[in-house]
Structure formats: structure tokens, C-alpha cells
């Protein structure tokens, strides 16, 4: 926890902007540079900054640990689940075009967005968990 009023004020102002930029990189990954990996790390960085500037307990209230654990697992499940859903719809594993039979090209983009969100969820929560555990905030 930082005692400096300058760091706390500026960091607190930056926090929502980093979050929004992370979401932008996540959703814009198909069009510009970026994607799940980069977005996940940006979102994790926002919460790490928050926990460094303010108390770790405050960050826990903002983002409960259990939620981070759930996000970690659901990211991988979302990726694999998209692939399995493609199989259930009659295509190959991760063959996104079958997701919407009437509009296969749109389904490709939709499938890519879904798996990128899965990657982003897992990366963000794993990085956040690692930093929290290594800093020993649990004890």
C-alpha cells in the first residue's frame, strides 16, 4: 500500500482507463493488433496496480478471489466448449463456421471472439493469482 498521495491519486485515475483499454484490446483483437493474451495482461495489470496503491483487501472486495478462480477455469472451458459446440453442431472441433448455419462467415468471427474471450479470462486471472500468491497476500 502506497502512502504517497500523488501515486494514489494518479493511479486511481488510471485504473478505469487501463480496464477499458484492456476490454478494447480484447474485443478489437480481430481487427487491430491485440487479442486475448494482451488484453488479459492489461486487465490483470489494472488490478495489480489497484492492489499496490490501495490495500489488497480493497482489491479483494472489488474482485473476490473466488471469482478469479472461477474465471481461470471458465476461460479454458469456454475455449474448449466452443470447440465441442462446433462438434455438436455437426462440424469439426473448432470449426466455427457451423455455429450459425445461416451465416457461416459471421459465425467464424463469432467463434474467434469467443475463444479470444476464453484466452483473456484465463490469462488475466492466472497473472493476477500468481502476483497475489507470490506477494503472499493470502497469509
Amino acid at each position: 500500500m502506497s502512502e504517497s498521495i500523488v501515486l494514489r491519486t494518479v493511479g486511481g485515475m488510471l485504473f478505469p482507463y487501463i480496464l477499458v483499454y484492456g476490454l478494447y484490446v480484447q474485443m478489437h483483437g480481430e481487427i487491430g493488433p491485440g487479442g486475448g493474451f494482451q488484453a488479459g495482461i492489461l486487465i490483470a495489470a489494472a488490478f495489480i496496480l489497484h492492489s499496490l496503491l490501495f490495500s489488497p483487501q480493497g482489491t479483494d472486495r472489488l474482485l473476490p478471489r473466488r471469482l478469479v478462480d472461477i474465471a481461470m477455469c471458465s476461460g479454458v472451458l469456454l475455449y474448449i466448449g466452443t470447440g465441442v459446440l462446433c462438434m455438436l453442431m455437426g462440424g469439426y472441433f473448432l470449426d466455427y463456421s457451423v455455429l450459425i448455419p445461416s451465416d457461416p462467415a459471421y459465425a467464424e468471427a463469432l467463434g474467434m471472439t469467443l475463444v479470444e474471450i476464453g484466452v483473456g479470462l484465463t490469462v488475466a486471472s492466472v497473472i493476477l493469482t500468481m502476483v497475489r500468491k507470490i506477494r503472499g497476500e493470502a497469509t
Partner: protein
Amino acid sequence: MDPVLLLDVILLLLAVTTAIAAMAIRDLLGSVMLMGIYGLLMAVIWADLFAMDVSFTEASVGAGAATILLLSALTRTGTRERTGGDHHLPALVVVLITGSVLIHGTSQMPAFGDPQAPAHIHVAPHYLSQDIGKVSQKSPDGATRRDFGDHVPNTVTAVLTAYRGYDTMFETVVIFSAGVCVVLLLRPRSPLRREQADE
């Protein structure tokens, strides 16, 4: 002199100097900071080579996340490296042999930017035109009103999530496994175990 070449040479010299300094310095905090600067320099070099996605990843992972993780680890350990006894001759020999083999390997690679390089004429044209597994069926009214048309504009994302979807899936699983390992290794001891240890 070509200004781009000049910039490349300056960046390369800076990156090599930073990497050597990060190894040579005894203060671990300074070493971590130099590694972060090295990551940022590499990100600039990738951007200079028009590899924007790699540059973005290097800036966020190499300069950002890795530095934060190493700094967090330093709060648990000392910030000074142990002195003396850090010269391991067999390791040096192995590194020198591996390095010379790798440098020998690069001598047969095509020149940088060669349009006839196998990487540019084998599968890359298909990736760029995005016609592998491309949806042949048009939308019902045949209109191309969508932003994406029949493909995703960022080829890197298309390669990562469609052409090499399995690869990216298992990368995600690897990251997930790393997270699970950290949780398992660094979890607080359960109250029952603690009581048993105290007895």
C-alpha cells in the same frame, strides 16, 4: 545512410548492452529493471519490423507482467546476488557449442525480407488470402454488408484462433496449468494440518 538501418543498429546495440548489463549487475532489483527495459526495447524492435502483435505481446508480457512477477518474488528474497563461485565451466562449454550451432544454422536461412523465402511462398499466401477452410457459402441475400466480409482483418488473430486453433488452445491450457500449480504450491496450510504440525 539509410535512417531505418541506423535506427535498427542503435536499437540492437541498446538491446544487447541492456541484456549484458542485466546479467553482469549484482543488484537484483537493478537486474529486474534492466530486464524490463530490455523487454521494452525488444517491443520497439518488433514494431520496427512491422510485427505489431508480437510487439504488443512483448511490451505487455516481457516488459510488464514478467517484471511485476520478478519484483514480487524479490520482496520474498534478498535483493543482492550471492558473490563468488558463479563460473561453471561445463555450462559455458555447452552454451558456446549450442550458440555456435544455432549461428551456423542461421547462415543457411534466406536473407531478411527475401520475397522468395519458403515462409513467404509456402502457406503464407493462403493465410493472407484466408482461403483455407473459407466459407464458400455466401449470406442469403449475397450482400457484403458485414465489417468482416468473409474473413477477419487481423491475419495474426485468424492464424492464431482459426488455422492454429489447437495450438492456441493448448497454450491457454499451459497457462491455466501454471496458475493451478501456483495455487497448489503457495496455498495457505489448512487449519487441520497446522494443528498437526504444532503438536
